[in-house]
Each structure stands twice: as structure tokens, then as C-alpha cells.
Point group: C2
Chain length 362, copies 2
DNA sequence: TTAAGTTGTGGAAACGTTTCCAGTGGCGCT
DNA sequence: AGCGCCACTGGAAACGTTTCCACAACTTAA
């Protein structure tokens, strides 16, 4: 019967008939050792099934080899993919990932960071409701812990991996305008707790202004409306004049189509819909979804890479925004002239849309 | 300037003018202390911004307050949701979650478990390629670490949270048979590394046999085919006689429809499609997806709950399988009599399907 | 008044590592 | 032979906690 209690390097040393210092040196290849003792230590370790305690190591070296990760939710594939990207980069580096979710709650955000700090994670990669206003995150920064944000626009003093939501939203406005849409709407879930949604709305709004179009209608909905098409349909019905809706994510864009169907509106003839994120499934739909294509996984990778270089002592600079691309689909078309009172007089643009990848400005 | 180095309980004790033992007792409320010294310690801790080092604690208490979690991939929403469930349960318990992904690789699985063991996680919740054959997992079990599996059918000596894939697949076969389908196929990705897929196929196959139907055709595809509809279409074209396909997950079911469209086959008239998992989006599609509805999040919750009771010393028993339900949709219909050479002679069943929730047998 | 508690306190050990340092012995020089 | 150098070795300190134990100073009961 092997002892149930964990075997430590002391046991190995004893079994090999040497001091712990020597055993440590052998097992880490961190110093000289005679072939004889080296052999004995290695055998002892093997026979006892020894493995280092990361805790003992962390205590002594003041490095836990752990990265803390905080995202709003893993139920959102966008964040899940980003975390997957982080994980992929970290995998070979020897770092492990401690993860936490805030469920879009700022207070939980702060508490989670505090937890991660207590665990002495060597670095932090997070997406928060409001990074600017988290005492714990500020503390982390003061302590000099490498921090890499995801999904957030550049923020004073933080490194971040992001897509330029403002620019991407402008592109959507351009697409709408190019087709002659005038009455547009912006549909968002959790608008208040998501700077991403807010930036998208801002960009969309700004470009509409620039083009002399009416301000887009901001339609905020809750979880209930997002999941129950009939509720969403009721809300949609309050805006019969709209000819195009920009949904702040693809899931919402699909829900809008369902709701429109319930109202007897045809997509895209009666209502054009464009999403955001570019989830894989959108491409496989009967009516492929027009959307802004992004890569959350690449975002996670970039964030993790930055973190690693910081951990290796190199100082990282803020990288430019990750690229996005407008993906053409079957949910976007000319506005129906019979629809509403605005579309009628609109100029008809050429029907072929540019759909090439769109690189960000540096 | 506050010192950049971490402040420890020793600093607090010194600043409060007492011993570390006293400081510890005060800060943990774990022993007597005079109101005077209590006040001084608390103030010192506050002013210095002290927070406990989880590492020091873990070393001394031999409990890391950390749970290790290993899943194949977070890019798969099913696993991401399960992890979210685990996280949700753990959140209030004081335990943190160390996460790792294997990318469906058995060797990586084992290595990851080893890592988690080195980090001295207090418990493990995992979904692996082959839990039965992982030395590291065996070691973990020998050490008496609480282990809770997810998505795996009951395994000797492991507690697991799961849906009865075999039974669920039988239900799909029943639905097909009830409508008169005879030539059926089972479409799977990563068949070899997923006991879930294999069990689903087994159940599907078994029920077809029971009903005297021809054996279903097993169609295994790779990543490439799953993501490129034209490739999948080419494969599908090799099986023109099939009137119904059971896809081992919803994503695949949607891809099949896309591929069928490319071939000019109509769903469900020419080809019925049923998926598995019950992802939310399936419900919102123009043609709502018929599927087996499950709740990965509930699975994660159950697994985490079991873990917690084990950690609290209670011994947990294997719980029954989680419920699933067949969700009717628009992708399932009678076989087209003009299609193939088998459907023609099939008996016509009553067209109204039972779609009520189906509880598992204990 | 003394014995027996009770309460408050801090020193020190232990947890599992790594690393500094001092010590040993062998070797090749002069 | 004497010297320094080198390879090798192990004791001990340190990392941040908690907890055992001993002790002091009271309070209470006889």
C-alpha cells in the first residue's frame, strides 16, 4: 500500500539517501550532481511517483505560474472562444488559467479580480463591465501585475485586444446607406453594461449623421425579449417604419428575423438585418446572415501573447485593433419602396456591394 | 509611496504591535482577542491594504480551494455552457476554477490532469476523450481527490453527470420509424474521440434493429467537411437513398441542411434532419430544428454540486441521468415516396408526433 | 488566601520548495 | 608539498500562513 499522503521532495531525498537541496538540483537540472546520485534521485522520484507541488514552488519563487481570466459569461460563445484562444496560447507556456465569470455584474467583476489577486495570479486577462472603475483592477495595476484586456477599446494605461467597434458600426451604416436605407434601428441587449454595444451604437449613429440620415432608433431589450420571439415581435411592431436593423450581435440578428417572420415581414424585402461577430452558424443558414466578421479567438490569442511577453520582462506596446470584415449575406437588400414613408423617395444605388475584408486604420 | 512588495500578515502584526498569531486570529475570527488589539489589527490591515495570500494558506492547510476543470474545447458551446454551470455553482463556495482544454487529444488530456494535480486542486471536474485510460486520472482517484465527470456515461467508480445518449438516440430512431423512414444515416464528427457520438450511434442502431429497419449508415466526417458545405454535399451525394439523417449535434444538423440545399434536396421533404443538444439558435431558425434537447449547463451544475458535497465530506452517490426531451421542429417530416427505392412501400403512420418531455429511466 | 479556571497573547513549528552558503574532497599547478 | 580551483554536497533560511503550546494576567469559587 502506497502512503496516501502526498510524497514530497524530502521523501525523495531520504529514499535516495541525499539532501533535499541535491534532490531539487537533480530534479530541476539546476545544478551539478554526480551521475551516481542523479541516478538514485531519479529512480526514487519515479518509484515514489513524486511530482512537484506547485504550491510550495509558488510560495518560494513568488510566481504562481497562473494567469487569472475574467469574462462576463462563458455561455456567450464570443467570450468562450476568446478564452479558448487565451488557453491555446498559454498551453505550451507552463502557465495555467484560473477563470471566473461575472455575469455582467460590475460588483461581481470587482470581487472576482480581488479573488484572483489573492490567489497571486502572475497576470490578468479580462473583459469587464467597467475596467476603468474597478478598485481591484486598479490595485492590480499598482502592483505591477501584467494586465491585458479583451474587447475593450484602448484605455489609459491598459493593454487591450479589440476590434474597433466604432469603425465597424460605421461600415454597417455605410452598407445601409449605400442601399438607400434611411429609417434604421440599432438593437441591443444589455446596452448599459456593455461598452461594446455602446461603441457600436455610437459609430452607427455617427455615420448616419455624417450621411445626413435620420438618427437610428435605439432599441434596448432584456433577456426575456431576446429569447422569446413573440415579445421581440411586439417591440418590433412599434417601429413599422424601419427598413433596416443593425443588431449588436448575431444571435440577436437571428432572433430579429424570427420576430419579423411572426409579424409577416419578409427579410430582407421588408426588413434588412445585419449582425455583429460573425459566428460560424450564420454562414450556414438558409438565408446567410450579413454581419461584421470578427475573431474572438484571435483576440484571446493576442491578449495572451501580450501577457506572455510582459511576463518575460519585455514591455508590450498597445497593438492596433484586430481586423474585421463586412460579410455580405442574404439578409441585406434594397429597402422596399412600398414600405414606410421614407424609402419611397430614396435614391437607388448600384446593387453590387463591396464585401472585401476591411483592414483597420492603424 | 506604498511598498511595491506584497504586504504580509507579518507586516500587519508589526504595524499593529502584536504577534502574527494574534493578527491571524483577529483577521480570521478564529480565536480570542481583546477589543483593543482587534481594533488595532483591523485598522492596520485596512490601512496597509492587506489581503491574505492564498498560497501561504494553501501550503499550510493543504487545501488550495481550487477545483480543476478539463474539457475538450471551449469553442464548443456545449462544453462552454457546462463550464459556465460549474462556475455558477462554485461561485459562492469559495472555490476557484483552474481550467484547461485538451482539444480532443487523449495525450493532452492526461498531461492536463497531471498539471492540475501538481497545482494541488482539491477536486476535478472533467470531460475527457477516455477517462478510463488516463493514468493521471487514475492517480488522482487513488489519492482520493473528489472527481466528477461530465457527459460520460457511468463508469466504474466515478461519479458522472450525463444524459443517456443511448436512450436519446433510440428516441430519434423511434421518431424516424414512426414517420415511415427506413433508410437513415448517422452523421458524426470526431467519432473516434467521442464516446458520446459512439453511444448515440449505438442507441440509434439498436433501435433501428429492434424495429426491423436496415442498419443506419454511419457517416464520419472531419473538420473540413463540417465547415465547408460543398465538401459535405459531396459526401451526402454518395448516399442518395437516405431519407433521414440523425446528426450527432445541432451544428452538424444545420450544416447538413446547407449541404442538402446545395444538392437541390429539400428539407424536410427530401431529407429529414434531426440534431442533438438543443442549442438555443435552433429554435429561432426559419425552419426550427428538430433535435434532442439537453442542458449542458444543468450538467455542469450537477457535477459541481456533487463535487461540493464530496469536498464537504459527504459521500455522493451516482445520480440518475439528466432528462432530455425530443423537440419537434420543421426539419422532420414524412419521407418523400418519390425518393429512393425504399420509402415507396413504407406504411404511413399517423402524422401527429408525441413531442412531450421524455424523462429518463432511473 | 489559594487553587482552578478563563482569557489574551506571542513564539515556534510546520507545510514544500529553492537557493545561498559553507564545507568536503580531488585534481592539476607551481 | 603547498596552493588554488573545481565539482559536488547538504544544512538552513526564506516564502506566508495557521495552529499548537506555553505563559501571563486575570477572575471566580472554595
Amino acid at each position: 500500500m502506497s502512503k496516501t499522503t502526498n510524497i514530497t521532495i524530502k521523501d525523495v531525498a531520504q529514499s535516495a539517501g541525499c539532501g533535499v537541496a541535491t534532490a531539487s538540483r537533480v530534479l530541476n537540472n539546476s545544478g551539478p550532481a554526480s551521475a551516481d546520485v542523479r541516478e538514485r534521485v531519479e529512480r526514487a522520484a519515479r518509484e515514489l511517483g513524486f511530482s512537484f507541488s506547485a504550491i510550495g514552488r509558488a510560495l518560494q519563487s513568488r510566481r504562481s505560474m497562473t494567469v487569472g481570466c475574467l469574462v462576463p459569461s462563458l455561455a456567450n460563445p464570443v467570450f468562450a472562444e476568446a478564452v479558448q484562444g487565451v488557453q491555446a496560447v498559454l498551453l505550451g507556456s507552463g502557465y495555467q488559467m484560473l477563470i471566473s465569470c461575472s455575469n455582467y455584474d460590475a460588483a461581481a467583476d470587482d470581487a472576482a479580480i480581488e479573488m484572483l489577486l489573492a490567489k497571486k495570479t502572475d497576470a490578468l486577462v479580462t473583459t469587464m463591465v467597467d475596467p476603468d472603475r474597478s478598485p481591484a483592477l486598479r490595485l492590480a495595476k499598482k502592483r505591477g501585475i501584467p494586465i491585458s484586456l479583451m474587447f475593450h477599446d484602448p484605455l489609459d494605461g491598459f493593454i487591450t485586444s479589440y476590434v474597433d467597434n466604432f469603425e465597424a458600426a460605421k461600415e454597417v451604416a455605410r452598407q445601409f446607406a449605400g442601399l438607400g436605407h434611411r429609417r434604421t434601428g440599432f438593437l441591443a441587449l444589455r446596452f448599459s453594461t456593455s461598452d461594446r454595444s455602446r461603441n457600436r451604437y455610437a459609430g452607427f449613429h455617427s455615420e448616419c449623421r455624417t450621411r445626413g440620415l435620420p438618427d437610428p432608433v435605439l432599441i434596448e431589450i432584456g433577456e426575456a425579449e431576446a429569447n422569446q420571439p413573440d415579445l421581440l415581435a411586439a417591440i418590433l411592431a412599434q417601429h413599422p417604419a424601419l427598413t433596416a436593423i443593425f443588431a449588436s450581435n448575431d444571435f440577436l440578428a437571428i432572433a430579429v428575423q424570427k420576430a419579423a417572420r411572426l409579424l409577416g415581414w419578409r427579410v430582407p424585402q421588408d426588413l434588412s438585418v445585419v449582425g455583429f461577430d460573425g459566428i460560424e452558424i450564420g454562414r450556414l443558414l438558409e438565408k446567410p446572415l450579413a454581419t461584421i466578421e470578427t475573431s474572438p479567438e484571435a483576440m484571446g490569442r493576442q491578449a495572451a501573447s501580450s501577457l506572455l511577453t510582459m511576463l518575460q520582462g519585455g514591455d508590450t506596446v498597445q497593438l492596433p485593433a484586430l481586423p474585421f470584415a463586412f460579410r455580405a449575406g442574404a439578409t441585406l437588400a434594397l429597402p422596399n419602396p412600398e414600405n414606410g414613408d421614407d424609402g419611397r423617395g430614396a435614391t437607388r444605388p448600384s446593387p453590387d456591394l463591396p464585401a472585401e475584408p476591411h483592414a483597420q486604420q492603424g
